[in-house]
């Protein structure tokens, strides 16, 4: 099986400061992967590199076997860590916008999820709360039939009930050949849903393991291990 995401010796520096150093990683199809690490460990940098928003200082990153570019943008569905939608637009406008923009966007799936979360399509984004805006963005991203979903902090601002619904949506809706990489601090909430975890520390890969391997070897949850490894 061809890797959906491959990093070889990947390095990215901001000026003199390295954000990622010599990262080697492979993500195969059909996996849900948690990208975990404390603030400033390079999670967002890695996701941005995969999405072509940043270029590597050294080394290589390949998405579906190719360098990030026009082709990979169709294969990748990206949820940034900030709000990028125009505030004056209505939710329904954004759905048409996405339909125009992405040929793999499934508008009926998006509308369905909006209904389930009681979000009124006629509302302007401006009128929505922070959490609701995040839900809308995540719905848009998950409604694309992509091969690789890159979600930067997808559930941070969302209430626990909606979080459950969203995780459920992720489990039931993604294609078996697709993979999801998500960065988060809310490990306990999400670890049952993950296949693998990647721990980043100061721009390096500290650990790659499956969730059950961690539990088997250490006799503790990923959340507990994280708190131990990154103890301040």
């Amino acid at each position: 099986m061809n890797a959906l995401l491959e990093c070889r010796n990947l390095t990215k520096s901001y000026g003199r400061k390295p954000a990622l150093s010599n990262v080697d990683l492979t993500i195969s199809p059909g996996r849900i992967v948690g990208l975990l690490g404390p603030n400033g460990s390079g999670k967002s940098t890695l996701i941005k590199l995969a999405n072509g928003l940043l270029t590597p200082t050294a080394g290589e990153i390949l998405v579906c076997g190719k360098r990030p570019g026009v082709e990979s943008h169709l294969a990748v569905s990206y949820l940034p860590d900030k709000n990028y939608l125009n505030d004056w637009m209505r939710v329904s406008d954004i759905i048409s916008y996405f339909s125009d923009f992405y040929q793999n966007f499934d508008a009926s799936r998006a509308r369905d999820m909006l209904r389930r979360l009681d979000i009124d399509e006629r509302q302007r984004l401006k009128a929505l709360s922070k959490g609701t805006k995040e839900k809308v963005q995540l719905i848009l991203v998950m409604s694309r039939k992509a091969q690789l979903y890159l979600l930067d902090e997808p559930i941070g601002g969302v209430d626990p009930a909606a979080r459950d619904y969203i995780l459920n949506t992720i489990i039931t809706n993604y294609d078996e050949q697709a993979s999801i990489v998500l960065s988060t601090h809310l490990i306990a909430d999400i670890e049952k849903v993950l296949d693998d975890v990647i721990f980043l520390a100061e721009g390096r890969v500290a650990l790659v393991s499956s969730v059950d391997e961690i539990r088997e070897k250490n006799g503790k949850s990923v959340d507990a291990l994280f708190r131990e490894v990154y103890k301040c």
Partner: protein, 123 residues
């Protein structure tokens, strides 16, 4: 049923146990069809691959079998189910004795306590 997981043990192993209980309790009676991997994963709010792994183990144990196009079913072999029931029963009994000796009862006294309790329930 709510699926609950301890944080210190592999999730797939806990799924195996919980599905065994569901079979014995009659939630999935012998010969019945199980929901799809995805549906089960969604119900338990776990990763589909983890659920798949648990079901594969139950299949190896002979508790489930797959019919290629129709899906996955609970075994109709009563012997296998009785054996499972015995096996889980042993575990519960061991825990019980262990807890009771922890409280200072001898196994014999524990048995007496159990008897008193059961008789009390009857009335």
């Amino acid at each position: 049923m709510a699926w609950q997981f301890d944080s210190d043990r592999p999730i797939y192993a806990q799924l195996v146990e919980q599905i065994k209980r569901l079979i014995l309790s009659g939630a999935y009676p012998p010969g019945s069809k199980l929901p799809s991997v995805r549906d089960l994963a969604a119900q338990a709010a776990v990763n589909p691959n983890t659920m798949q792994k648990a079901l594969a183990e139950l299949e190896t144990d002979g508790l489930l079998f797959t019919q290629r196009t129709a899906g996955r079913f609970v075994t109709e072999d009563d012997e296998v189910i009785q054996r499972l029931r015995q096996q889980l029963c042993q575990g519960i009994l061991e825990n019980f004795i262990q807890s009771m000796t922890g409280l200072g009862f001898t196994p014999q006294q524990a048995l007496e306590q159990l008897q008193i309790h059961v008789e009390g329930e009857k009335r």
